[in-house]
């Protein structure tokens, strides 16, 4: 492992993003735009918007980074740059952490823009600090990145990679408690929900924004961090020096 190689990778990934202005604009504009849309969709029931708005600020990065990473990684695999890197003295962890660092930075900017729009222009309230929401947003981005990285190994085309988003993330978001309280779900779904990482990521956001703390929040944070580490390790296992 080397800090120099991790940083070089992060700088390279950021340079790629810098060249792709449109993607950058979409990453920064779409979440606040969707949040604004939601505000007016729930115009007649402001309570709902007040409940789901703040956690959404932190969930957007999860989804966006999942997508970007799966495509970026698939491109590395299909264009041969991954094979080239694997034939060079670069540790797998340096590559993963480089991506993580670059996307965490992007997520921080995204969360800052979305928070500004949500908490100031759309009158959302968080009982916890905005910084805590931003920190959770970054953690979610890294979780999304790690999951995307791992799953990209199972996609051989962009079409497949894109489909992993509705296949893998949507059920998790539906079961997380964002749309309906988990207590009201059928027992089986409740168990499934308990086993999925996004449930904990969402729960942490929801607790921080509504000002709750305590043991359950620590559990949420612990599980989220554990899921990030597990997905990164699984992702590293999919990076092979030797392939068939």
């Amino acid at each position: 492992m080397s800090v120099k190689n991790t940083l070089a990778t992060a700088i390279r990934v950021l340079a790629q993003l810098r060249h792709d202005r449109r993607t950058l604009a979409l990453v920064l504009v779409v979440p606040p735009a969707l949040l604004t849309l939601l505000r007016y969709v729930f115009d007649a029931s402001p309570g709902t918007f007040a409940r789901i708005g703040p956690p959404l600020v932190g969930l957007f990065p999860l989804i966006v980074m999942f997508l970007i990473t799966s495509i970026a990684m698939l491109r590395e695999r299909t264009t041969g740059t991954l094979e080239r890197l694997m034939s060079m003295p670069l540790a797998k962890l340096d590559l993963l952490l480089g991506y993580g660092l670059a996307f965490a930075l992007l997520a921080a900017v995204q969360a800052a823009v979305t928070s500004t729009v949500g908490f100031w222009l759309l009158d959302l309230h968080t009982s916890g600090s905005v910084l805590a929401v931003a920190a959770l947003a970054i953690a979610n981005a890294v979780l999304g990145m790690a999951l995307g990285l791992f799953l990209s190994a199972f996609a051989s085309t962009e079409f497949q990679a894109v489909q992993f988003m509705p296949a893998v993330l949507f059920p998790q978001v539906l079961l997380s408690g964002l749309l309906a309280p988990r207590e009201h779900m059928p027992h089986v779904l409740r168990i499934a929900s308990d086993a999925l990482p996004v449930t904990y990521a969402y729960d942490a956001l929801s607790r921080v924004t509504s000002g709750q703390s305590g043991a359950r929040l620590w559990l949420d944070l612990g599980v989220t961090l554990g899921a990030i580490l597990l997905a990164l390790m699984l992702g590293a296992a999919t990076l092979r020096r030797r392939t068939a």
Partner: protein
């Protein structure tokens, strides 16, 4: 006879359930430009990948520069240029070179040096996506030259290149060999055979000859290397 830069013993490789290399043994002289020639699909790329250490193999041994392949130290000494250019299309040539130089621990001055070698000085700040096919291949070659590798493995590096440039690249290959590097160049174009110090003819996963062009001519009694290949293939 000089020491071998590459030694392959009884290498067996399967890809997708099919045996691509049944039992290849091969030595490549150090400091030479060796041409690996054979028709498309005969197993050249698989053999190259095994020598680089990125190919999963069934059995057999591959030693490069005296040591087993695929170790971190070996990854500094061996450079590999795949047939499809493996550089980041959304970055400029300079950004690509800068990144790979950092990973290889090469000095920044190497960036301009390799750009001169492959003739891309004027395109350093052009995004790879806007380059022509031949220019992209050269950008990919430039990356391989950054770390001053002791063994340089090139898969069809001169495909779709302008003849003038192709000749220049072969001169570059010989210059690198004169400086002590070993080059292994795969090609399916027989007219490149005469530019090599040593030739390896390959057909259907087997090595049918490994000698200098003159030795091959002497063995087969054919003046034309393509005729020599056909005659050797008939004996197979």
């Amino acid at each position: 006879m000089t020491a071998a830069a590459v030694e392959v013993r009884d290498l067996r490789v399967k890809r997708g359930g099919k045996v691509v290399l049944p039992a290849v043994s091969l030595e490549i002289p150090a400091g030479s430009v060796t041409g690996l020639l054979g028709p498309s699909g005969c197993g050249k790329t698989t053999l190259l990948r095994a020598i680089v250490g990125v190919q999963r193999v069934e059995s057999g041994e591959v030693r490069v520069l005296g040591d087993p392949v695929g170790t971190p130290v070996q990854r500094r000494r061996v450079a590999y240029v795949t047939q499809a250019p493996s550089v980041y299309a959304d970055l400029t040539v300079r950004e690509n070179l800068r990144y790979f130089a950092e990973i290889l621990g090469a000095e920044a001055s190497r960036i301009d040096a390799v750009a001169v070698t492959v003739g891309l000085t004027e395109h350093l700040d052009t995004r790879v996506a806007s380059l022509s096919g031949g220019e992209r291949s050269r950008a990919s070659l430039a990356v391989a030259l950054l770390g001053k590798p002791e063994l340089l493995i090139l898969d069809e590096p001169t495909v779709s290149l302008d003849p003038v440039l192709r000749r220049e690249l072969w001169q570059t290959f010989h210059r690198l060999a004169d400086d002590g590097a070993t080059l292994l160049v795969a090609s399916h174009v027989m007219d490149e055979a005469d530019r090599c110090d040593h030739l390896v003819f390959m057909r259907e996963g087997e090595i049918i000859a490994s000698a200098s062009p003159d030795e091959i001519r002497r063995q087969t009694g054919k003046d034309d290397l393509e005729d020599a290949f056909i005659s050797l293939a008939g004996e197979q």
